[in-house]
Symmetry: C2
Subunit: 460 residues, 2 copies
């Protein structure tokens, strides 16, 4: 039977199975969802087994399990390490979802639900591509090692240890994963650059306890104001991060690459519409595409302190807190940046307060030479699967795994993105376009098929 025909005929089965996967609220950041995360790991393991993979394992870690399966029955053919993650972001604020976050729902050609785009839907594309090849040909044209983790949204800490301890077992000619986006609808894309991510939390304390703003206001330090004054000092009027040394290791963008990125079929008008704010902002001297993909940032992700309930409470709180993060670009080093940021912040705070600075996670930036043969094969498969021209792009997000793998194995990493930038990954009403989900299964199956026509170790 024809591969593409088989995939076409099984669309409904694939979609129903994905919905089942999405219904498990595997939120890795929240301890109350620990059992759900484990349930999702078991679901993945069962699915790998059903697809025909061997040596399925649910590998326990100090936090959330890593699921592994393999098929190594194509001697002389390339071996791929295929990565995905089954954990998802928290769904809050729940009241802003049109349909519930964990009840996947199709509307207007989109599948809505937490994890549809990031990353259950995209992980499922690979599982179904493998399964389809197995069903149609009775075996895979290449060797695969599939590794699906449960900590991507909280920094992939356990993975580092797993990679180090299983270096030989995981060895491959290339890494393949789908946790990124297409540039735009109808533009299949291969991502060759990602930003790194350092995530911090800061708590500052003024008075020993909350104070009445009437009795104490005017003479007691207000940590909310002091935190705000700190944040206001973290960017200059040109939108540049003021942390000394922050930009020192940023590699300058080659002229040709800069031109290529700015020539992509990417429309600022569409981006503005997706954001939906009255205007954009950012670092002066760079285009929006450059700001998003090639420049580092410092963003506050959450802030809280004092009375935030209904009505009025006249309090000067003891504490104020924020979560904030830096997106990093080559060749910034996460450890150096952490040191610079903490030192700068401690130096800016007045002596009226004390500060607790925590590093919640760190991740390196990454960029690949996209002229390598495996990238060309991927491009051809995408063009055939989608019947559209495929492009090479960078992304502003972070996948710590990519740098970890690259640092461990020094093999090419091929990032095939089937999401879209306006699909609300990390926000309410996350969704994936069904045509990209189905097109993704076709393209990935074709990619694996085409790689089967190459000899082993195309990457070395």
């Amino acid at each position: 039977m024809d591969l593409i025909r088989y995939i076409q005929d099984n669309q409904e089965n694939h979609l129903n199975e994905l919905k089942e996967f999405l219904r498990i609220p595997s939120v890795s950041a929240k301890s109350e969802h620990k059992a759900d995360v484990q349930r999702a790991a078991k679901w993945v393991a069962d699915n790998l087994r059903a697809a025909g993979l061997d040596n399925i394992e649910i590998h326990d870690t100090p936090m959330h399990p890593i699921v592994y399966g393999e098929s190594l029955k194509a001697p002389g053919k390339p071996t791929l390490l295929i990565y995905g993650h089954y954990d998802v972001q928290p769904a809050e604020p729940l009241e802003l979802w049109t349909s519930p976050a964990f009840e996947p729902t199709v509307r207007n050609g989109n599948l809505y639900g937490r994890g549809t785009a990031d990353d259950k839907g995209q992980t499922h594309i690979h599982l179904k591509a493998i399964e389809s090849l197995m069903r149609v040909y009775g075996r895979l044209p290449i060797n695969v090692k599939v590794m699906i983790e449960g900590e991507e949204e909280v920094g992939s800490k356990s993975l580092e240890d797993f990679l180090a301890k299983n270096r030989k077992k995981l060895d491959a000619d290339a890494l393949v994963l789908s946790d990124t986006s297409m540039l735009a609808p109808g533009v299949p894309s291969i991502t060759y650059g990602l930003r790194g991510l350092n995530y911090f939390q800061l708590e500052i304390t003024g008075a020993a306890q909350d104070l009445h703003s009437g009795v104490f206001g005017g003479a007691a330090p207000n940590p909310l104001t002091i935190l705000a004054e700190l944040i206001a000092k973290l960017h200059d009027r040109n939108g540049r991060v003021t942390v000394p040394g922050f930009y020192d290791d940023v590699a300058s963008l080659p002229r040709a690459e800069r031109k290529a990125l700015n020539s992509l079929p990417w429309k600022e008008k569409d981006f503005r519409k997706t954001v939906g704010a009255r205007d954009l902002n950012g670092e002066k001297g760079f285009t929006v595409v450059e700001r998003l993909w090639t420049r580092p940032t410092l963003e506050v992700n959450g802030i809280w302190g004092g009375y935030i309930g209904e009505g009025a409470k006249t309090v000067i709180p003891s504490k104020a807190s924020m979560k904030f993060s830096c997106r990093l670009v080559p060749d910034q080093d996460p450890k150096t940046i952490t040191r610079l940021v903490e030192k700068y912040i401690r130096g800016l705070l007045p002596k009226t307060v004390t500060a607790k600075f925590e590093v919640l996670s760190t991740g390196k930036p990454w960029a690949a030479p996209y002229t390598h043969p495996i990238f060309q094969t991927a491009q051809k498969a995408l063009e055939e699967g989608f019947k559209k021209k495929a492009v090479f792009i960078r992304e502003g997000g972070s996948i710590p795994l990519v740098t970890q793998i690259y640092d461990t194995f020094k093999v090419p990493c091929v990032l095939l993105g089937f999401g879209l930038p306006d699909e609300n990954a990390h926000a309410p009403d996350e969704h994936i376009r069904l045509e990209n989900y189905f097109g993704g299964i076709r393209a990935v199956a074709l990619f694996y098929q085409k790689l089967g026509e190459m000899q082993a170790a195309p990457a070395r």
Copy 2:
């Protein structure tokens, strides 16, 4: 029977009854406590009846009831309007209370619980002073109109209407209330000045929905940063509020008053210890006492936005919010200040965001001529009740009722404070010193007895 002896003999009864009152979580700011607030109103009405007052009423309002009772059987003697409030501040953060907020507990000579100092404990002092006079003499030496409201912590909105509609019924020679603090332990105090309070809420919106900080970070406006940058502009480096015109109507402090205030037995060392921060701050050019009692402020009372749960979420939120308030001093006008603050804030915000500015409550500042005879009588009663020298002070807090009453009736307002500045009103572990609670009952009973020796309308 001797009045003081009777009060002494009934300390245990009084305390047990107060605990019953404190167990009702009458949080006026939270709609979920509406029934509790009504229960507290009923408790007050029953208590007034038991004390021997007549014409008890629970007066319904659009928000929370006002309880009224009177005794008008002393012809030719002064008539007092006695005010208190039975509503309390929210108890959050609950985890910081040593014993639960609504389970009153005695430790080290203090009674702990929400409302002990502000204002159930102090209101109860007046109820028990009246009851004691009734029990000992069979009648009151003066005429009293007792009015206990349930919206003090949320701006006393309904009271304005109640005063306007019952102008004649509430007419009196003076207003007496206890919702303030003693200057220090062992220093009985009469408060002659209060700050006003305008309470605001601001919500700013950037993107139409929450955004992924990787995909959008660097080019989309971050309302958290923008809110912080706004807050940072609200004070200058000398701790002065930067709102244009903010200080225009502030009356300058007479030299003699300034000297008197700075000569009070008030110790900055103790204040620093109470605050418990590493240092104080505030407006340059003024002593701490002056900053607290005679200078206006702008304080952020709460701030929130983005992800504030456990772990990390890489989000650029759509919205950021804050609650903030201005303490006002004579002769600032709350309406003018509201207009100036809103205009200034809207002008400071960048065009990337929209803003919703709300006024939650407003209240005028107040200061009285403390040389009036009724103040001298109060001072004598305090000195006799506490066996200590009593002083005249100002306070930084706000009691909107005082200005409302003053504007309506133009009669003296006598503020007898039995709290202490370190008793955590509005914070966890709120408490009142038992010796001040019991001393308060003695002093207030003596005050009413001494006023009975005067002729009617001592104030006019």
